[in-house]
């Protein structure tokens, strides 16, 4: 039994770091795990997708479209872009925050009016997690990743505290660790509140 997880967003958002925390938490819990990024150009602003596979034994590191159990999207349109990777019973955690690129600002392309709505219309299970909004209320937009991972924790096949430990270990024991812990808990509470 393999659990496939996609973490998606745009360059500079910390997608790879979040995916690494999930993979390392799986390893800590005794699973095997692989982590990869798909489609290059990791500079600022481009599409970033990191794939984590968790199981007893992993062969291919890339996830087959239509099989992912969880899609964690740090940006609304990116959640829509990668949604075809979800299994029918899979779930998308979607930050409704929008990063509008110059190709949209300049009028060449259009940003989807309602990404979460489109996902629902395609019969996807979607939870909107206002991670960036919560992070801003906690005082720093960069806490959004910790909020999102807190919201994802109950949907992964290992104890939630393993993920919490991996998220926080990067920050030592000071102020930054405390703020990220609060962000993680806020995400976890949100996921609990309306299942």
């Amino acid at each position: 039994m393999i659990t496939d997880v996609l973490v998606v967003g745009i360059g500079g958002q910390g997608v790879m770091t979040a995916a690494e925390a999930i993979a390392r938490a799986a390893l800590e819990a005794g699973y095997e795990a692989t982590k990869t990024e798909v489609t290059g150009m990791a500079q600022r602003g481009g599409v970033v997708c990191s794939q984590v596979r968790i199981g007893e034994r992993i062969e291919a590191s890339e996830i087959r479209p239509g099989t992912a159990r969880l899609l964690i999207a740090f940006e609304a349109a990116e959640g829509l872009r990668w949604s075809h990777y979800l299994a029918p019973e899979g779930c998308a955690l979607l930050d409704p925050w929008r990063a509008v690129p110059p190709v949209v600002s300049s009028g060449v392309h259009r940003y989807p009016a309602n990404p979460a709505g489109e996902l629902r219309a395609a019969h996807r299970r979607v939870r909107e997690i206002d991670a960036r909004g919560i992070a801003e209320r906690l005082g720093d937009a960069r806490l959004a990743n910790s909020v999102m991972l807190g919201a994802a924790a109950s949907r992964l096949p290992f104890p939630q505290d393993a993920l919490r430990h991996q998220v926080l270990r990067r920050f030592g024991s000071g102020e930054l660790a405390a703020r990220n812990a609060a962000a993680f808990e806020a995400g976890r509470a949100l996921a609990r509140s309306s299942g």
Partner: protein, 610 residues
Amino acid sequence: MSAVFQTAIGREFLSGNEAVARAAWEAGVEIAAAYPGTPSTEILETLAGLPGVYAEWSTNEKVALEVALGASMAGRRAISAMKHVGLNVAADSLMTMGLVGVKAGLVIAVSDDIGFSSSQNEQDSRFWGRFVHLPVLEPADAAEAYAMTREAFSISERHQVPVLLRLTTRVSHVKRTLQVGERPAPDAAGHGYRRDAERWIITPNHVGRRLELRAQRDAALADEAVASRWNVLEPGTDRRVGFVVSGAAFHAVREAFPQAPVLKLGFSHPLPLALAHRLAAQVDRVLVVEESEALVEAELKAAGITVSGKDVLPLQGEITVPVLENAVARLSGTSAQVHSTPPKAAVFPRPPTLCAGCPYLGVYFWLGQLKDAIICGDIGCYTLGCGEPWNAMDSVISMGASLGVAHGMAKALAGDAGARPVLAVIGDSTFLHSGMPALANIAYQGGNVTVLLLDNRATAMTGGQDNPGTGQRLDGAAVPRLDFAKLVEALGVRPQRVRVVDPYELPTFFKVLREEIKAPEPSVIITTRPCVLTEEFERRRPLTVTEPQCNGCARCLELGCPAITVTHRERQQRSSGKVVDLAWVRIERALCTGCDLCAKACARGAIVST
């Protein structure tokens, strides 16, 4: 990243690149040289953090490979790392190294960008093994990359030959768990240089002997490949299709067809034909699975083995499980694809953008308006000038090619009536990599090209590595910055035609640009502002739009700054009857660097500091 810098033994979660670095370190590497390039960059970055290794970002891949050769001649184990196209640059010396060989172990780690996510092509570096007569090792994942790299150094020394460690994106960038070991002290007995003119001086009178030795080496390597533990015939019960596979695609084969017999190639050149004959004898069909060229397929066919390969597999891109399943279905005569990919949602493309406040925004703001100019681009962040909203580029060919191509176009068009101006756009690191000879040529030939040398004091595209223009070395030591103005003068550009300008000063920059385009001789405009991702960059207070002042003219959007987003659009008809598209904007506080470019672009003074 942090984990690999630990030197303790134990279980680690490493990317293929980190694993190569770790293994090279354990194998006693003392010298490492590379030029950054996706997907290979992290190999040297990781080695630089390990004790006892001299590591450098060389100015190009050819230099890097020569540095490794010099170290090997002096008896020190060495590694050189590069992306696939980097090995093209290094090829001249590589060819000679195939003849003279090496002394201390030398490994060339080359990573092929299969799927061309960040490169100008898709290229199969295994060809170099055939061309240069080198052994090729092809790990399937990080754990194998680790183990093979350790072994590669002893293969190199046993046969006195560079070993080509062929990686791909999927090996370089995927993290897996593996067990790491320790680094014994490098063997001092091998240290030292002894003159050997007949070997290291490759004049024609020495070539014949080296060719004979190379033939002997080929035979010895072929014996070693057949016996290598990295070439394994894995038995299987489902004998309808047997696979010959190397690299990351091995895992796709194992996932999709767990019961099939597989010849897994790790020491893939010289090709162990005997093993392939044994596989063919026990299966109905043989499918060769290789990224990206039909190389093994052709060699097996030439050896009289009936195989399939690119007749059913795609000619480009990664071989994933669904791709493989469809290929086997075709091979077995099933007409329908066994797995269709779920439909993708329609979402706008999101190409990488220049960063908010990037000094190149000011450059491309103007270049996008030079509708008459021909602009030859180069490889770096400034390649993005080919996209929206600037569309300010006519060609991108290869590292350093902008100047040579521009010169040729300028010469070819010179006699035409109303000849269009020709520009070349190149960054600091790319100019030092391979732009300099072309500029000397332009000056020497009296070419009429306006060169924009965009010095942002970083090898920015690959993550901001240092180069001779940044004032810092990989080890952190401060060094004198290379003086680009003096350099281009020395290459033959007249001092009057060397202009150093601030790209944030929009009107001044445009004035200089017009003057230099007009000048009927070679000129170089050097821009001065650092990459926003470097420590040198000074972030200032973010800007904001004062609504009443803004008339929706949208000129600020022509900068292409990602911090400027549209709040609403309107189409208006002027009293003259002309229809205009207007757009009102806001500035994202979190992204804005306060560079002031948009304030300068705004004719209404509607953009102000907060």
